[in-house]
Amino acid sequence: MKINSDLCTGCGKCNVFCPVGAIFKDQGKNISVIDLEECVECGSCLRQAKCSVDAIYQQELAWPRSVRSIMSDPLTITKESGIAGRGTEEMKTNDVTGRFRYGYVGVGIEMGRPILGTYFSDVEKVAMAVASYGVEFETRNPLTSLMSDQSTGKFQDELLGEKVLSTIIEFTIPVEKMLGLLEVLKDVSEKIDTVFSLCFVSRLGDDEVIPISHILDEAGVWYAPNGKANVGLGRPLFIEKGELV
């Protein structure tokens, strides 16, 4: 995103809308300026500031900078998922897709969330760490398609200097590998210069007991008391082999 310096009146009203604090006041020229290194092309300033002189404008985004908009603007519809946003249908439609089965854990590592954003160099560090643990990345996730080698978690080199508001590393593992994965994540979390928010998806049985909670409790791993629950209203329901209906 850019601000036309000929039009900007320096009112500064747009500055507060930037989620990554990339808009600043050039005191010498008395105009607002966008730091293009920090800007993640989310579109928030253009949509929300409603600049009275239309000084904010979307410049043409060429590759690889265009990845910033793809991952940061919630209204972007990606071809891999077909839905708006940087994620996938994930557990939201698991009642009809059966994507997450009994005995497995779906994992979402949302790099850069909350607030800080992330460079792809940090995304690559985490992706390569979990790849070395033997995970297979979700192919419907737009992030996976940006990897130059999905077996190692390596990204295309030209992406490493690009910054996005957040992006999700997504895969599924057997429950037995869950605690080992947490060790890998603890180690790599000390090597990055941003944050990630971590989530685990589980298929519940008829008793509605979350099958991984007792494992996390015994290992002393914190998890939130709130979260998301698919309540099984989708049709046709996916039935796992051997499952009683």
């Binding site: 919630p74 779906g106 979350i210 709130n226 698919n230 309540v231």
Partner: protein, 214 residues
């Protein structure tokens, strides 16, 4: 795998923060789903949701009006309804079960509360997504009210600077807590900020500020 997940807050505050997400699945039940999605939103609105929103095309402010938002719903939309009241959420769940519209519904909130709400509506949790919190350079993050308000927007569109500005204006009595909450909501493209909860957070900050100044 996130969106309405990772909302930060204490249990008392989160108890009034229940978000429904409704969507079809690609190549399974998405064809012709737009009118069904619209009916879901209208049912939730009529049964007491404080806000409804559309992730695919944007909230009521992005689209100009609530009517535009409802008229523009597409087959692959992902939509949301926010409740600040457990009883109303239960009534909506019962109505949705009865209506049997056929698309997937996700309820976000305290798991124990969701389990009880589902039980009263004759539903069961099928699949859950748990948050294991924030990892890495958490020392760079704000805490308290700023983080609670920021994490109500799953796409991180509500800037810390905007939240801080709103806090200052509420403390200075230039904005009411409700106006501050609505202003944050405008930035949340999907419309999942709980304006009741956000206003309560602003009110609590005002009380703290008054105590400090006494």
């Amino acid at each position: 795998m996130t969106h309405t997940l990772h909302r930060v807050g204490n249990a008392e505050s989160l108890r009034r923060d229940i978000v429904f997400t409704y969507m079809p699945s690609n190549n399974i039940n998405h064809v012709g789903s737009a009118p069904i999605i619209r009916r879901f939103l209208e049912m939730c609105r009529d049964l007491g949701a404080i806000k409804i929103g559309d992730t695919r095309k944007g909230n009521e402010y992005v689209q100009g009006s609530l009517e535009n938002m409802l008229n523009n719903i597409e087959d692959r939309a992902v939509v949301e309804a926010v409740f600040d009241n457990e009883e109303k959420a239960i009534i909506a769940l019962k109505a949705l079960k009865e209506a049997d519209l056929g698309l997937s519904l996700v309820v976000s909130g305290l798991f124990e509360q969701t389990r009880q709400c589902c039980s009263k509506a004759g539903l069961k949790m099928h699949t859950v997504n748990q948050s294991l919190g924030r990892w890495g350079r958490t020392d760079k993050l704000p805490d308290g009210a700023v983080l609670e308000l920021n994490t109500m927007c799953g796409h991180g569109m509500v800037a810390v600077s905007l939240i801080e500005q709103a806090i200052e204006k509420v403390k200075a009595r230039k904005w009411t807590p409700e106006k501050a909450a609505e202003n944050l909501f405008k930035c949340c493209i999907c419309g999942i900020i709980n304006i009741t909860r956000a206003a309560e957070i602003f009110k609590a900050l005002t009380k703290e500020n008054e105590k400090e100044n006494d």
